[in-house]
Amino acid sequence: MPELSYREAVRDALVQAMRQDEDVFVMGEDIAEMGGSMGVTHGMLEEFGPARVRNTPISEMALAGAAIGAALQGMRPVAEIMYEDFMTLAAEQVVNQAAKHRYMSGGQLTVPVVFRTQGGAGWSPGAQHAQQLEAWFVHVPGLKVVFASTPEDVRGLLWSSIYDDNPVVFFEHRTLYGIKGDVPEKIEPIPIGKARVHRAGEDVTVIATGRLVHESLTAAAEAEKEGISVEVVDPRTLQPLDEQTLVDSVKKTNRAVVAHEAVTRMGFGAEVAAVLQYQAFDWLDAPVERVGARFAPLPFAPVMESYVVPHADDVLAAIRRTVARGD
């Protein structure tokens, strides 16, 4: 099996889609000569030219809106929003327009657009360049939201997102771009709405997204030494959520930890916890634990940044709490 980095995997999905389909094109800030601020579109200008690898001005509303407009005419644009934080600028077009056209028109329109963006803490990007805002977008009916954590998953899911007829907000994590993983020789589309079990276990289920998938696997290995058998599941698609897989896992293990890098309070994890509590109530032997960032903007100083965001030991501590005894 070939090995690709997460970054290369994203690029591969874009390149292969653009090769086979004239209607697919990418637009975003600095994606042409520079190859994107995260290097995702490196080399694509040479292959596809400036009409299909379009640099845009710093103009998120127009960027998002034009992508939507082109999608309404039947193209499959992939708009790159450089930082997840700037989704707040594009949000009017994503939330008020893209998410609602099909509905408001009574089914006359499809909006096959993908908004790719990346976020996350690490190396002190500061409060305005590091947010994890998936909770905002899973809350909007009409949007699909994807957050893959491995090269294989990100490639297969980006492919599926491009070919989904709904607007998709596709999150990537900046610290994952460099990780490498095996991918199938040919792109295998991964269905949107299907979770993945990374590691089977018997005692507690950890449901994690993005960077926290990897932190959770580290925590699970540690927990194993203490005799705690941990199952790690990545939902991969946040909306629609694969509730079945998550609930089945918790019914098996009777304990759950939900982990994401986004702020814990009012986060995506709260929805997962509610789903688990409701559907697996009589199977729970401990309260559902949540791991996430503390409720503060992201600080600049490295020691403070590290304090605010969750790591493997936070997941491990949560795992331990689910099986704790005594006071």
Partner: protein, 399 residues
């Protein structure tokens, strides 16, 4: 044909307006588009224009609040007569149901302990307890803050293996199934023992060397020719004495307290024709062996004749069940509610037993003590059973 002037809807969500004053009087000429009256809405006071031309024949509502759509006047040709259905007084706006004061959410009780009646147990633990009929009140929780978790319930649940009763196969009459209505006794037994079955119980078993006990019974018979003293009588005396030495065993479990009895009222399980009955030998610890035998004898014979009275059966702090005469080696008796324990004894039989490096043959009797774990812990039961054994193996110790 006169035109009705109706209160128009002037904004999304407008349900009524207040007529402040009419700008035209009855009988005046009105042009379409001319201001006709002043209207107060939520937002602003404004002039409302006439929607038709003609004579303002009638003002139906001079002022006040009016619902949207109500007729407030008529415009028509001079001299036209209009019938105004007696204009009801301007309807007050639908009184808004007073917003129910949101019920103050009771702050979740933070303190949860069994003394407050609230048992802390995980949903899973509760389900298992429900499914298996385990009383959570009897389970000790090892989870955080004393929470009962699934493992605790599983541990507490002692699957009492029911005494295997090998029923002699009754040749069924050709064809039909016989249906026997339940007697009251059977019903009572069923009810009481079902109740006992839900109690968390445990069993302790010992083999007792009956050499000296047998000898004692034999000697006592010789000394008391008037009564037939049996092993059961000896057991009764021994158990009663042991109960007085182990007051914690002579108890009954209650909702909020344990009842500790002053005397050992020992019940003896008797297989009467109508079913199992347990007449009680009161204050057995104060009776001699011969006295016990006398009481027991009377009770048993009356039981067999179905002549027991309520006072024979009431009370009882302990029960002995002896199936030795039926050839049973060992069995487990079901607790006799509300008693905290019951002793089941089988027959005395010769067994080869290692003793001091040699094999000896001893008359052993297997005794099994069933205890209500809510009232009695393992150690307590074990010590009590140990005392019984000691007394039987060395009767002088009971003095």
């Amino acid at each position: 044909m006169a035109t009705e002037v109706r209160l128009p809807r002037l904004g999304q969500g407008m349900e009524s307006g207040t007529i402040v004053k009419w700008l035209k009087a009855e009988g005046d000429m009105v042009e379409k588009g001319e201001p006709l009256y002043e209207l107060d809405t939520d937002k602003v006071t404004q002039e409302v224009e006439a929607e038709a031309s003609g004579v303002l024949l009638k003002i139906a509502v001079a002022e006040g609040e009016v619902a949207v759509g109500r007729t407030i006047g008529f415009i028509g040709a001079e001299g036209e007569v209009v019938e105004v259905a007696a204009p009801p007084a301007p309807e007050p706006a639908a009184a808004e149901a007073p917003a129910a004061a949101p019920a103050a959410e009771a702050a979740p009780t933070v303190v949860s302990s069994t003394t407050n009646g609230r048992i802390k147990a995980s949903p899973l633990a509760r389900r298992i307890a429900r499914e298996r009929g385990v009383d959570l009140a009897s389970v000790r929780g090892t989870g955080p803050d004393g929470r009962i978790v699934a493992e605790d319930v599983e541990r507490a649940e002692v699957g009492a293996a029911p005494a295997p009763v090998a029923a002699a196969p009754v040749p069924s009459p050709a064809g039909e199934v016989e249906r026997r209505p339940l007697s009251n006794v059977r019903r009572t037994i069923a009810r009481r023992l079902t109740e006992a079955w839900t109690v968390p119980a445990f069993q302790l078993t010992v083999d007792i060397d009956m050499s000296r006990a047998d000898e004692l019974v034999h000697k006592q018979r010789e000394l008391n020719p008037g009564v037939r003293i049996t092993v059961t009588d000896l057991l009764t005396k021994v158990c009663a004495t042991a109960l007085m030495r182990h007051r914690d065993m002579n108890v009954r479990f209650g909702e909020d307290e344990l009842f500790v009895y002053p005397t050992a009222d020992v019940g003896i399980a008797v297989a009467a024709p109508q079913g199992l009955v347990v007449p009680v030998v009161r204050s057995a610890e104060r009776l001699t062996l011969a006295e016990i035998a006398g009481v027991r004898g009377d009770l048993v014979s009356r039981a067999r004749e179905a002549k027991l009275r309520t006072e024979d059966l009431d009370g009882g702090t302990f029960t002995i069940s002896n199936l030795g005469m039926f050839g049973v080696d060992q069995f487990v008796a079901v607790l006799n509610p509300p008693q905290a324990s019951i002793l089941a004894v089988g027959r005395t039989r010769e067994q080869v037993v290692p003793q001091d490096g040699e094999l000896v043959v001893l008359p052993l009797m297997t005794a099994t003590l069933t205890c209500d774990h809510r009232a009695v812990d393992g150690a307590t039961g074990a010590e009590f059973l140990g005392t019984i054994r000691a007394f039987l193996e060395d009767p002088g110790l009971a003095l």
